[in-house]
Amino acid sequence: MKVQQLSIFLENKSGRLAEIANILAKAAINIRAATLADTSDFGVVRLIVDDVDKAVGALHNEGITAVKTEVIVVETSDQPGGLSKVLNVIGQESLNVEYLYSLGTRAEKAYIALRFDEPDKAIQSFEKSGVKVSTKEDLKAQNLA
C-alpha cells in the first residue's frame, strides 16, 4: 500500500520554508512528518500531511511548485534492530532506495517512509519477509496521517 506524500520545490532563500508552513497552517493542514533534502541552490521538502489534495491546492494557489508523490510506509518494532530488520530485506532483495525518513513512533512501533524506484516489488518483498506495510488507514488510526 502506497502512501501519498507532498513534495515541494524550494529555492534556498531565507524565510521560504516558513512561508510554506504558513500557507499550510492557514489551510488548516496538519503536518505529520517532514524532511528536507537540500543542495546548495535548492531544496526539496517532503511532507506527510492529513489532507494531501487540499495541501497541494493551497500551495498552488500561492504559486508554489508542489506535487503528490508516493512512498511506502513500513512498521517495525521500536527497539534496537528495528531499522536493520527493514534494511536487511532491502539488501537481500536488491531493492534500490531513493531515500527514507522516520514518521516517529507509536505504541512500541516505529514507522518509516521509504521511496523506491520499484515500489510494487518492494511491497511484495516486505510482505514476503513479514515486514508490515502500513495502509493509509493504519496511519490515520495512529494519528500519523
Binding site: 513534495s7 541552490d41 535548492f42 526539496v44 517532503r46 506535487v67 508523490t69 531513493e98
Partner: protein, 432 residues
C-alpha cells in the same frame, strides 16, 4: 498576401534604379535640411553630387543614436514643427529617450510598409488583428494599427497587458492574427494553461512577433502552443517603427522593404562594409522619409543579408533574424555571447521553460556566469538526483554550444520577472 505586387515583386535591376534615384534625392535633401548631418558630410569631404551609384554609399558618414541624443529632442527634424503630425519616442534604456517625428506623408509611407509586413505574415483584407503591442510613445502599437487599417483588416487595439482580457478577445472576437512581442506570446500561453484554456482551439492562425530578438526554438514553441504560423517583424523607431521588414510565410529570412529602406552590413568595429552574406551590423538609409530621414543609420542590430530569390515571389532582399545587438553582446571570458544563444539551448532541453536570467559577476580576474532557469511543474521531480541531472544537462549543453562553463541554478516557476514589452535577460554586475 502580397500587398503591393508592383513594388514587392519588382525586377531587381529596376529596383536598384529606383533606389539610386531616391538615394540621390535624400542625400541632397538631408545636406540642405539637416545641418548636423551636413557638418558630418563636410567633415568627411563628401558632397551630394559625389553620390552617383549605390556603390558610393560607403562614402557617406554614419548617423548614430548618439547624434540623436546630441540633438535631442527635435534637432534632426528637417521640417518646422507645424508640419509634424506625430512624435514617437524610444524607450531609452541608456540615458535619455530619443524622439522621432513624422509628417503626414511619412505616416502614409509607414502604413504602406506595415501593410506589406502584415501581408508577409499572412494577413489579407478581413483578417482580425489583435494588436497587443503597446499603444503610446512606443511605435509598436500605432505602427501595426495604421498598417492593418490600410490593408482593410479589422483591428482590435488591445495594447499590451491585461492578459486574461486578451485571452477573452482571442476566444470571443475571433482574432485570426496576433501581434505582440514573442515573450508576451509565450506569457499568454502560460496564462492560458493556468486558466485551462486551449488557444489552439481558437480561430487564431498567424502571429507577427518582434521588437526583441528571439530564436528559432522559441518560434517552434510558440507555434506549437498557439497552433499558429509565427513570423518575425523588424523595425526601429529611428527608421520608422515596425515595418522595416517582415518574414514571409517561407519563414526563411525577413524581407526588407528596400525601395524605402536601403540596407547595408558593416563591420561594427571598423565601420567598413562587409561582403554579401557576412554577418555584421545592419545600417539603414531611409529613402522616402521626410521629417526625420536617416542616412546610414547604425541600427546596432547584428544580422546578414540573403540576396538569393525567395520562393514567395517577393524580390525584396532578405535579412536573417537578428542574432543580437552590438550593445547587448556579452563578452564573457573573451567569448562573444548573445543571450539568444542561451535561450536556444534552454529550449532544446526538455521540460525547461524559456524563462531565464543571466548573472555575470567577476570573481578575481575571472568572469563568472550563473544562469537562473525556471523549473516547470511537469519536470519537477521529488528526487534531488534527477533535478541535479537536469542542471548538469543544461550546463553541458551550454558548454557544448558556447564553449563556456556556467553555473546553473534552478529556480521556482514564475520567480523571474515577466515583462509585457522587451524582456531583460542579463544582470551584469561585473565592475570592468
Amino acid at each position: 498576401m502580397i500587398w503591393n505586387p508592383e513594388a514587392e515583386t519588382m525586377a531587381i535591376d529596376q529596383r536598384k534604379e529606383l533606389q539610386l534615384k531616391r538615394l540621390k534625392e535624400i542625400v541632397k535633401y538631408v545636406y540642405e535640411k539637416m545641418p548636423p548631418y551636413r557638418e558630418k558630410m563636410d567633415k568627411a569631404g563628401v558632397k551630394p553630387q559625389d553620390i552617383q551609384a549605390l556603390a558610393d554609399l560607403p562614402k557617406l558618414p554614419f548617423l548614430t543614436k548618439a547624434d540623436m541624443r546630441e540633438n535631442y529632442p527635435f534637432g534632426l527634424f528637417t521640417v518646422p514643427m507645424e508640419q509634424i503630425v506625430r512624435v514617437h519616442s524610444s524607450s531609452g534604456t541608456t540615458g535619455k529617450p530619443t524622439a522621432v517625428g513624422y509628417i503626414k506623408e511619412d505616416i502614409e509611407v509607414w502604413a504602406e510598409v506595415m501593410a506589406r509586413a502584415l501581408g508577409c505574415g499572412g494577413a489579407s483584407p478581413g483578417t482580425v488583428i489583435q494588436n497587443a503591442y503597446g499603444y503610446g510613445m512606443f511605435t509598436g502599437g500605432l505602427g501595426i494599427h495604421y498598417g492593418g487599417e490600410r490593408m482593410g483588416c479589422t483591428i482590435l487595439p488591445a495594447s499590451s497587458g491585461q492578459t486574461k482580457r486578451q485571452l477573452l478577445y482571442l476566444q470571443d472576437f475571433g482574432s485570426t492574427m496576433i501581434t505582440c512581442t514573442p515573450s508576451y506570446a509565450l506569457y499568454l500561453c502560460e496564462v492560458a494553461e493556468e486558466e485551462g484554456i486551449d488557444i489552439k482551439s481558437f480561430p487564431l492562425k498567424y502571429g507577427v512577433l518582434g521588437a526583441e530578438p528571439w530564436s528559432e526554438a522559441m518560434r517552434d514553441k510558440i507555434q506549437e502552443k498557439m497552433g499558429i504560423l509565427a513570423t518575425d517583424i523588424y523595425g526601429l523607431s529611428e527608421i520608422i517603427g515596425p515595418g522595416v521588414g517582415n518574414e514571409c510565410l517561407e519563414q526563411n529570412g525577413l524581407h526588407i522593404f528596400d525601395d524605402h529602406f536601403l540596407p547595408e552590413i558593416i563591420n561594427p568595429e571598423t565601420g567598413e562594409p562587409l561582403p554579401p552574406g557576412e554577418q555584421g551590423e545592419l545600417v539603414i538609409t531611409t529613402l522616402t522619409k521626410t521629417a526625420f530621414p536617416g542616412v546610414r543609420f547604425r541600427t546596432r542590430d547584428i544580422t546578414s543579408l540573403i540576396e538569393e530569390p525567395c520562393a514567395c515571389g517577393r524580390t525584396h532582399v532578405r535579412m536573417k533574424r537578428i542574432s543580437g545587438r552590438t550593445d547587448d553582446m556579452l563578452i564573457i571570458r573573451g567569448v562573444n555571447v548573445f543571450p539568444s544563444q542561451i535561450e536556444s539551448v534552454l529550449l532544446e532541453v526538455e521540460g525547461v521553460e524559456p524563462h531565464y536570467m543571466i548573472y555575470l559577476r567577476r570573481e578575481g580576474a575571472l568572469d563568472d556566469m550563473e544562469i537562473h532557469v525556471e523549473i516547470s511543474e511537469n519536470v519537477f521531480s521529488d528526487e534531488v538526483k534527477k533535478l541535479e541531472a537536469l542542471e548538469k544537462k543544461i550546463k553541458q549543453e551550454i558548454q557544448a554550444i558556447l564553449g563556456l562553463s556556467a553555473r546553473i541554478k534552478l529556480v521556482e516557476p514564475k520567480s523571474i520577472e515577466r515583462s509585457m514589452g522587451k524582456t531583460k535577460h542579463v544582470v551584469d554586475e561585473r565592475q570592468i
